[in-house]
């Protein structure tokens, strides 16, 4: 199959040494801090209370609102509390968590396993995926069931499985594809069935030869499923760029991949779908890469959600040196976490600890307009001009330069010789523009309300006036009648 080359992108050092570290099960922690919000959208609502006994896989918080996902107990035990705990977010602000004291039994709840997974209807597949609390495990954590429901409405020609894993250091999808190949492929086939997709493309970057080999062998007997080796180039794993690479089609600005007949799911999500459909198990754990040059012993671990990052790092023999940056996710787009006391959530594909040497962030100097950022931008933007305008507080101009088409991939910042935190500026401006849009919407809504009130008042005034006029007319008529009557009577009296 033909591959298409997207413009820009960068080639950071892969650092994929952990590709040879087999997945290990992290020992069961004594306590799990399961956040209610592990996905994009509204937080889930707890359906348990402190003191309740729960079994592994039991629903502990249900999805709430249009975009949300259910949360299940990662292990059996007792609910200690529903309280705030530090979130895996740079702010370090607390988030509502269900705290479970594990009992060590890992006792599963009764699982609903369909007899013939391949005879399930599309709707039933979407329902089971929703019930299992599955979200996009590549890091975006968009509730997967919504994409399947969308697939019911829109014709999906091509299902693209994202096995690019383009971020340095991360090897969790790589190991999953190597070790649990058959299950991923089964999950992919169920996904294709649920989406009624005509063909499936599994895209893996060429720096993962073992994964490519395993997946190709497992897909050999399926004509409609192809494994494509895509070049190693960041941000290959971005949905927009992966779709272009394998189909040659661009997703129009403001549209979804589904609008051009493509649906993208992550390889780890396919594994979660396998678990949900074939085993009836909800999503309670994931593979996490613990790596970075500040980690003593890099590993790939299977971790229950709610496990604190400190447990993972301890299992990897701790830090070799004080990390300059501690991240959840990869070094290009990962989030800085304030300390090791944050829980693993559905989107945590890695805990990466980088030394100052790896960060290589020197002193910031002025922009010399070298335009390396323009060449590196995979979206065709001009980061230097956007940043200059944002710095000057000129947000409208930044919008005109296309800031809302920026995917925050960080390619520009990676190549900037002046060490300008470009993405930092862009995220700030995006927040500001969003706030402005909301404020504008509110203002318009308020003025609309005021206008409605005005018309209503005018109408009332008019009605009042009309009523008064009618009343006056009636009074006049009555008076006239009374007068006439009086005159009549007077006449009669005189006559």
């Amino acid at each position: 199959m033909r591959l298409f080359k997207f413009k820009g992108g960068v080639h950071p050092e892969g650092n994929k040494g952990a590709t040879h570290c087999a997945i290990e099960q992290l020992p069961l922690p004594a306590r799990l801090y399961v956040p209610l919000q592990q996905h994009i959208g509204a937080p889930a609502t707890p359906v348990v209370k402190a003191g309740d006994k729960v079994l592994k896989g039991q629903l502990i918080a249900q999805s709430q609102g249009a975009v949300s996902a259910a949360v299940h107990a990662p292990s059996s035990g007792t609910i200690v509390d529903i309280a705030e705990h530090q979130a895996p977010h740079p702010s370090g602000l607390p988030v509502e968590c269900i705290i479970i004291a594990t009992d060590g039994k890992e006792q599963w709840i009764d699982l609903d396993v369909p007899k013939e997974p391949f005879h399930l209807s599309e709707k039933e597949i979407a329902r089971r995926i929703s019930d299992a609390g599955i979200v996009g495990l590549g890091g975006a954590t968009f509730p997967s069931a919504l994409k399947f429901n969308l697939g019911l409405k829109q014709r999906v020609e091509t299902l693209v499985i994202n096995g690019a894993e383009c971020e340095p250091f991360l090897t969790s999808d790589d190991r999953l594809m190597q070790e649990r190949t058959q299950k991923i492929v089964e999950g992919i086939r169920i996904m294709a069935l649920g989406l009624n997709a005509q063909q499936t493309i599994i895209a893996v970057e060429d720096n993962k030869p073992l994964a490519v080999h395993a997946m190709t062998a497992a897909c050999e007997s399926y004509n409609d499923t192809n494994v494509l080796t895509v070049p190693t180039r960041y941000p290959m794993g971005s949905e927009k760029h992966l779709v272009f690479t394998v189909t040659g089609k661009e997703i129009p600005a403001g549209k979804l991949a589904a609008d051009i007949g493509v649906m993208v799911h992550n390889a780890a999500t396919a594994y979660a779908v396998y678990d949900a459909i074939y085993e009836g198990r909800p999503l309670v754990s994931r593979i996490v890469t613990v790596a970075g040059d500040a980690i003593r012993q890099p590993r790939n671990l299977e971790v229950l959600f709610g496990t604190l990052a400190s447990e993972l790092i301890d299992y990897c023999n701790g830090f070799e040196q004080e990390p300059a940056r501690l991240l959840m996710g990869g070094p290009l787009m990962g989030l800085v976490i304030p300390n090791v006391n944050v829980p693993i959530i559905k989107g945590s594909n890695g805990i990466i600890a980088l030394s100052q040497k790896e960060v290589r962030m020197g002193e910031q100097s002025p922009c010399i307009r070298c335009s390396r950022c323009v060449s590196a931008c995979p979206c065709g933007l001009m980061p230097l001009d956007m940043a200059a305008n944002i710095k000057a507080g000129n947000f409208d101009r930044a919008e005109d330069y296309g800031i809302n088409d920026c995917i925050s991939c960080g390619s520009c910042g990676y190549v900037c010789p002046a060490n300008i935190p470009l993405v930092h500026f862009f995220n700030y401006a995006k927040g500001e523009l969003k706030a402005r849009a909301v404020a504008k919407q509110q203002q318009e809504y308020t003025s609309e309300l005021a206008k409605q009130r005005q018309t209503r008042m005018e109408k009332i005034e008019k009605e009042k006036a009309a009523m008064a006029a009618r009343a006056a007319a009636a009074k006049k008529a009555r008076e006239a009648a009374a007068k006439a009557k009086a005159e009549q009577e007077e006449k009669e009296a005189t006559s």
Binding site: V10, A253, K255, G261, S365, R372, G402, D405
Partner: protein, 363 residues
Amino acid sequence: MSRISPVSGPHTHNDASITQIMASVILALVPATAYGIYIYGWAALFLFCVTLISAVVFEFICLYLGKRPIRPALMDLSGILSAWLVALTLPPWAPWWIGVMGAACAIILGKQVFGGLGQNVFNPAMLARVILLISFPVQMTTWVVPQPMFSEQDPGIAAGFATTFGAQADWDSVTTASPMGHLKTELTLDKDISTIMADLPSYQDMGIGHIAGSLGETSALLILLGGLWLLIRGIISWQAPVALLATVAVLSALFHYNDPQNFAAPQFHLFNGALMLAAFFIVTDPVTTPSTARGQLIFGAGCGALVFIIRTWGAYPEAVGFAVLLMNCITPLIDYYLRPRIYGRTRRGQPLAIEEKRSGDES
């Protein structure tokens, strides 16, 4: 610079830095500079040093007066590079104050008044060159024949010192016109090209740079070598240099082959004056040239056309400085109107249309 500790990615960076870029460009200039100093002797070396030292002094004064951090701005080598380029454009035996004036124009007027590195509109070296040329036409057009160091013609270190720092010594015996100046003068006297060329050095000497000319501009070959090294290292991109050289070559070829007796050959244009230096070291200046590939092509081609027009029909024999400054003026316009196409959008910025009929629907 504001100190923020960013929490947004990327959390890793490649190891490019401004200082490293500037140092690479300077390194690429070393062969041509060394050759220039060698063929024009001690006076050239003194003038070169005066220009560089005064640039550092002027930059220091500006930063101090502007209360801006001094160390990082001096250490990024950008001021040194500007002064270096200014020095290369000077007549090698010009008096010391020409070097000082050149450095002052480049650093103060060309860079610091705009707000320092990255803020200037005009190429500092070209600005200095044009100001000097207009203000001091005699000193700026007095050229000498090559008299290499340590050779028999070498007047020696003391004489060189006197040339740069003393009063204008009597060196009529060694002055001559540059090939470009000579061509211009003779053409106005209605001589034809073949007669004029007979008086000029061979193309081989022009290419190597063994001719009268600016301190570091004469050796097209060594400059080309440095430029190619920068291209291979990825410090500069090919668009502007290629567009500039190709435009000059094509235009001069068109005119020359139509009328060989009135228009000089393309190789004459390519080997003489500041063209080669401009191609690899001036129109590739990131600050004052466009940021996009298409913009750089247009910029280079525009400079090339202006160079040819001014050289051929203008009053000055050399045109590179004027051409670059004129094109610098429209760089912001080029950058504004020639943006790259955004993913998922048309060139005009509208979202791409969704193909209504997909291949699957047709079957």
